[in-house]
Symmetry: C2
Subunit: 90 residues, 2 copies
């Protein structure tokens, strides 16, 4: 796990989106994080608007539901993604 | 499977990269394609430079190894990705 995990999500654009970059030391950890994220999406029914990744990074953009304000559901989803990342180094 | 599967990869930039967009009708098919692509990377040891996806699309960029010309290995990898996509609709 790299040290970007403690940063906050960046609010961007209009309609608002949340953006964050996660860094990993090797592809295996990147892959584990992506698999955990897919499982979280399946559980919650929430999907990032966009996921952009290479071997050692994952950039995630979350959008407000129905183009509205960033509500609690989206922010809670972001927090749960952070938790997946915290566990990625274990 | 959408009809973009029959298009060719677009050569971009310098050093050269190959780019292609794949479209899917639903997230389950997108996810299956991403899983198959991860398995192919594990088998071949080749990884796309970048994968950019949402619920119903996957954009893939392949780069030449060591920044050189696009060699046969990269083009063969692209062809194998096309084959994964052809199977995604089955």
């Amino acid at each position: 796990m790299a040290d970007t995990g403690m940063t906050t999500w960046e609010e961007r654009g209009k309609p608002a989106t949340l953006f964050k970059r996660f860094a990993f030391e090797r592809y295996g950890a990147t892959r584990d994080f992506l698999d955990a994220l897919a499982a979280l999406s399946e559980e919650t029914g929430l999907h990032p608007q966009n996921i952009n990744f290479g071997t050692t990074y994952v950039n995630i953009t979350l959008e407000a539901v129905e183009g509205g304000e960033l509500d609690e559901a989206v922010r809670a989803f972001a927090t749960r993604i952070d938790a997946l990342y915290s566990r990625a180094g274990e």
